[in-house]
Amino acid sequence: MLYVPVGVVFVNAVVDDGGATLAFVREVLTDPFYFGALADVFAEPLSVRHHLASVAGWLAAVSVSVSLEYPLPGVPLPVPVPGLETPGIRTGLFGFTAYQAALSTVASVALGLPAAYILANYEFRGRQTLRSLTILPFVLPGIMVAVGFYAMFGRTGTLNGLLGVGGVGPYPFIEWNPLAVVIVAHAFYNAPLVARVTVAAWESVDARTVETARSLGASPRRAFRDVIVPQLLPAILTGALLTFIFTFMTFPIVLALGGLQLATVEVWIYDRVRRLAYAEAATLTVLETLLSLALTYAYLRYESAQSGLARGAGEPDREPLFPDLRTALSPRRVAILGYGLVAVVVFVGPLASLVAGSVTDGSGLTGRHYAFLLERQLEGADYQTLPWVAIRNSLVFGVATLAVAVPMGVVVSVVTVRAGRGGAIVDTLAMLPLAVSGVVFGIGLLRGLVFGIPLPGGWRFQVTGAVAIVFAHAVAAYPFVTRNVSPLLSNLDPAMVESARALGATRYRALRDVELPLVASGIVAGAAFAFAISIGEFSSTVILAGGGQSYTMPVAVERYLGRRSGPAIAMGTVLLAVTAASFVVVDRVGGRFER
C-alpha cells in the first residue's frame, strides 16, 4: 500500500526511456539553485583544494560588529545587537528548507515543552480536556491555518483589534518578518506534537527516581536536570525529529504565509508534478526522503542506545496549579501565566479567530455560512459534497485507521525493538511513510492504484474508495504508534515476557497480557495521533476519494472554498468541533486503559 505508489513515482528518478540513468540525480545535485554552495562540491567532489580555498575565502570575509537596533517599533529602546557579518553563502533550496525546518523545530520544542511541563506536573480544572485538545492544530488543513493566522495576526486581525482597545497598534505582524510567522505557524502545528509525546513520557517517569536524587543531595533543579531530563530526552527528540521531518516537507504553510521567497523543496516538487515533470519531481523526492531517513536512522540508533532504562511505575504527584493567591504570585506561577498568555496568542488565537470567521461576514455577525452547510446537507445533490457524509466518513475512517494502524505500529515496534543494529534499519524503513513527500505519495496513489497497474493479459489492478483510504491513512499513521510505543517497549524488563512465556503463555499471549498493558500509555498516545492523522489527512484522501462518496472533512473544507472563505471556514469549524469531541472521548477511553 505504501511501497507500490511510492515506487511507481521513484522509478521515474532513475529510469529514462526505459534505461536506468543517474543523470537526473546528477543534474539536481550540481544545480546551485537546489544545493547552493554544495552543488560545486557535488559537481567536482575530488577537487578538495579548490573547495578548501573557497571555505577559507569565505571565512576571511567574516566580520563581527555591534549595532544598535530598535526591536519595538515606536518605542525608543535601543538594544545592542552583535552582528555577525558573513558574506552571502548560497544555501540553495535544500539549504533553506533545512534552515527553516531547524528553526521551526527549535520553536516547536520551545513552545511544546512548557506545555508538557504544566500538563504533567500540575493539577487544574480541565487538565484532561486540555491535554486532549492539544491535538487540535494537528488536524487542521493548511489553508485553514493560514486563514486563521491572517485572521489572528493580520493588520485588521484579532490581535490588533485587542491591542487597539489598549490604544496601540495596529502592527503588521506578518509583514515584519514572514519567516518568523511561518515558523510560528509550524510551531502551531508541531508544538502540540512535542508536548503530547513528552507528556506521555513524563507521566511514566518514576517519582522514586527523583526522590532518590533528592535524597542524594540534589536540589530540585539538579534532580530535574540529572534524573527527569535524561528520561524525557528520547521523547523530546522523537518530537523534534518528527517536527523536523514535517517542516522539512512543509508545503501549504510556507507559501500561504511566507510567499515564494520562502519556497521549500516540496513547493518545487508540487510544481514539477503539476507540470507532469515526474522525473525531476521524483529525483527531488528521493533526495528529500533520503535526508529524512538518514536523520531518522541517526535518531533511532540514539534511541536504541538509550534503552535499558527501567520504566518507572509510580506516577509523579501533580500539584494544584493555583492553590491560593499567595502561591499564584510566586515566580514560577507567574512564568506559567506568561507562558499561558503566549499559548493563548499562538494556539487559541488562530483557532478562535477561525471560529469567529465562521460567524462573521463583511457586514458583521451572520449565520449564513452555517446556513449554507445546512442547506447543502438538506438539498444538495449526491454529486455535491455533503457535510454530514464528510463527518461520518471522517469518523468511520478514523476508527478504521485505528483498527489497522495500532496493531501494525505495535507489531513493527515489537519486531524492531530488540533486534539491535538490523532493527534500527528496519525501524528506519518503517518510518518511510513520514519521510516521503505527501504530494508524491498522492501522485503515486493516483498513477499506481487509481489508474491501475497494468498486468499481463490486459488486466489492470485498481484500488480506490473507502478501503484504499483507510489503508493510506493507516500507512501514514502507524509510524506514530511505533514511535510512541518503541521507547516504552525497549525499557520493559525482558524478564517479564520470559516469565509469562515460562508460565505457559504463547508469545502472542505474553504480548497481550504483559507488554501491551505496560506500554498502554504509548499505545494510547500513538492511537490518538493515528486518529488525528486520519482525520487531518488530505493529499491522498482527496485523490482516492475521487468523485465518489468517500470524501472527508478536510476534503469538504477544500471543496467549499470559493470566492469567499466563509463556508469553508464554517466547515473547518465543524471539523474542529468534531475532532475536539472525538479526542476528549479518545483520551477518556484511552485513559482507562492506562490505569
Binding site: T156, V267, A466, R563
Partner: protein, 373 residues
C-alpha cells in the same frame, strides 16, 4: 453501456465505494479517429453524459453545475448528466492517457489555453480532446469576436471568460495608470500576487508582464517589483481571503468581477476597486471540449450547444461570476452584474503558438528569481 467489463472484485463490491478490483480493458474500440464528427441522421440522445469540470462548478456557494444539470436533463429527457471533478484537472486525464487507463468522461468543461499546451507537450499534438465539428453546434456562432481560444486543432469553444487585474483599496493607494507604476514608491509593499507555478491568477499576471515587457524584459520588471516589496503567495485563496481580506496589503491580483461579490456580500466598496493599468487586463477564456474516446458523442455535442444557449450563459456568468462567451444580444444579465463587472479597454492574451514550448521555461525562470535565495 460502459466500455469495460468487471470480471472480478476483491472485497465485495456491494459496499459503497469499495475496495480493489481487477478490470480488463474492453476490446471494442469506438474511437473513429475523432475527425470529422459528421452530423448524424438520428442522433442518439439517450444515455449518461459525463462532464468533467472543476470544483467550484459543483461545490461552493450557489454553483452553476446543479442548474446546468437540471436544465439539460429537462431539455433532453432521455439523458442524464453526471458531474465528475478530477483532482488535478486536465493533468489527471493526460496521466490517464499516458498510462492507457480508462477515461470515462465525455466532456471537459474548463480547459484553458495552457491546459491545451500541456496536453500537446505531453501527448501527441492535438491529443486528448477531439477536433470539434463546429457545424454541429448551432450556438457557436453566437460567441463573441476575440473569444476564439486559438487552438490550432480546434478542440475547444469558450463558454465564459474572465479578466485578471489588480484590485485595490482606494483609501490607501491610487489606481495604477500603468504596470510601471507598480514599481514606484507609491506602491511600495502594496502588491499581493500569486505563485505562477500553481495559481491561475498568478500565471495570468505573469503572462501579462511577458506580453508587456517581452521575454527578455519581464524578469527585469519583476526584479523591480521585488525591490518594491511584492509579496507572492501560493494561491488566490491565501492571498485574497487570507492576506488581503485581513488588511495585510492594499492591492491584490484578482478578477475584474471582484465588485460583484463585494456588492453581494456588502463589503466596503472602497477596498474593492478594480484597476486596469494601461487600460488592460489579462483575459482568461475558459473552454469546453469533447474527449477523443467519448462514448456519448451526440449528447456531448448537444451539451456544448446547450452551454452556449441564452439561459445557460446567463447562469454561468452570474453563478460562476465570469463574463459570458456570447454576444450581448444572446444573453440577459442582471443590471447589477453590468454595473459591477468591469471590462478593460484592451484584453491581453498570449496565444497558443507563443505559449507552446515556452510556458514552462518562463514560469521556471521566474520562480527561480524568487526562491532558494
Amino acid at each position: 453501456m460502459r466500455r469495460r467489463t468487471f470480471v472480478g472484485a476483491v472485497g465485495g463490491s456491494a459496499i459503497a465505494g469499495v475496495a480493489g478490483c481487477l478490470t480488463r480493458d474492453g476490446d471494442g474500440s469506438e474511437d473513429d479517429d475523432g475527425t470529422g464528427d459528421p452530423e448524424p441522421e438520428n442522433p442518439d440522445l439517450e444515455g449518461e453524459v459525463q462532464v468533467a469540470t472543476y470544483d467550484s462548478m459543483v461545490n461552493g456557494e450557489n454553483p452553476a453545475g446543479p442548474w446546468l444539470k437540471d436544465a439539460f436533463e429537462e431539455a433532453y429527457p432521455d439523458a442524464e448528466l453526471t458531474w465528475t471533478v478530477p483532482e488535478n484537472g486536465i493533468n489527471d486525464y493526460i496521466d490517464r492517457s499516458q498510462q492507457n487507463a480508462e477515461i470515462d468522461a465525455d466532456v471537459y468543461l474548463g480547459a484553458n489555453l495552457d491546459d491545451l499546451v500541456r496536453v500537446d507537450d505531453n501527448l501527441e499534438d492535438g491529443g486528448l480532446l477531439r477536433e470539434l465539428n463546429v457545424d454541429r453546434i448551432d450556438n457557436a456562432e453566437r460567441i463573441r469576436d476575440g473569444l476564439d481560444m486559438g487552438d490550432p486543432h480546434g478542440r475547444v469553444l469558450a463558454y465564459d471568460t474572465g479578466y485578471v487585474s489588480p484590485v485595490y483599496d482606494e483609501e490607501l493607494v491610487d489606481e495604477p495608470e500603468t504596470l510601471d507604476d507598480l514599481t514606484e514608491p507609491a506602491y511600495e509593499d502594496a502588491l499581493l500576487a500569486q505563485n505562477a507555478q500553481g495559481s491561475d491568477t498568478g500565471q495570468a499576471f505573469l503572462l501579462w508582464t511577458i506580453d508587456a515587457y517581452g521575454e527578455d524584459g519581464y524578469l527585469d520588471y519583476w526584479r523591480e517589483l521585488e525591490a518594491n516589496g511584492v509579496r507572492i503567495l501560493e494561491d488566490w485563496q491565501e492571498s485574497y481571503n487570507g492576506a488581503y481580506m485581513n488588511g495585510e496589503r492594499s492591492m491584490v491580483i484578482s478578477y475584474s468581477t471582484d465588485q460583484v461579490f463585494a456588492n453581494e456580500y456588502d463589503y466596503e466598496m472602497s477596498r474593492h476597486q478594480v484597476a486596469f493599468p494601461d487600460g488592460q487586463a489579462y483575459a482568461n477564456p475558459e473552454g469546453m471540449g469533447i474527449f477523443e474516446g467519448a462514448s456519448e458523442l451526440d449528447l456531448a455535442y448537444e451539451f456544448l450547444d446547450f452551454a452556449l444557449s441564452n439561459d445557460a450563459q446567463a447562469v454561468i456568468a452570474q453563478r460562476n461570476v465570469q463574463f459570458p462567451a456570447v454576444d450581448e444580444e444572446y444573453v440577459d444579465l442582471d443590471e447589477e452584474f453590468d454595473q459591477y463587472a468591469h471590462t478593460p479597454t484592451e484584453a491581453v492574451t498570449i496565444g497558443y503558438d507563443r505559449l507552446r514550448g515556452n510556458l514552462d521555461g518562463w514560469v521556471d525562470d521566474w520562480a527561480r528569481e524568487f526562491a532558494g535565495r
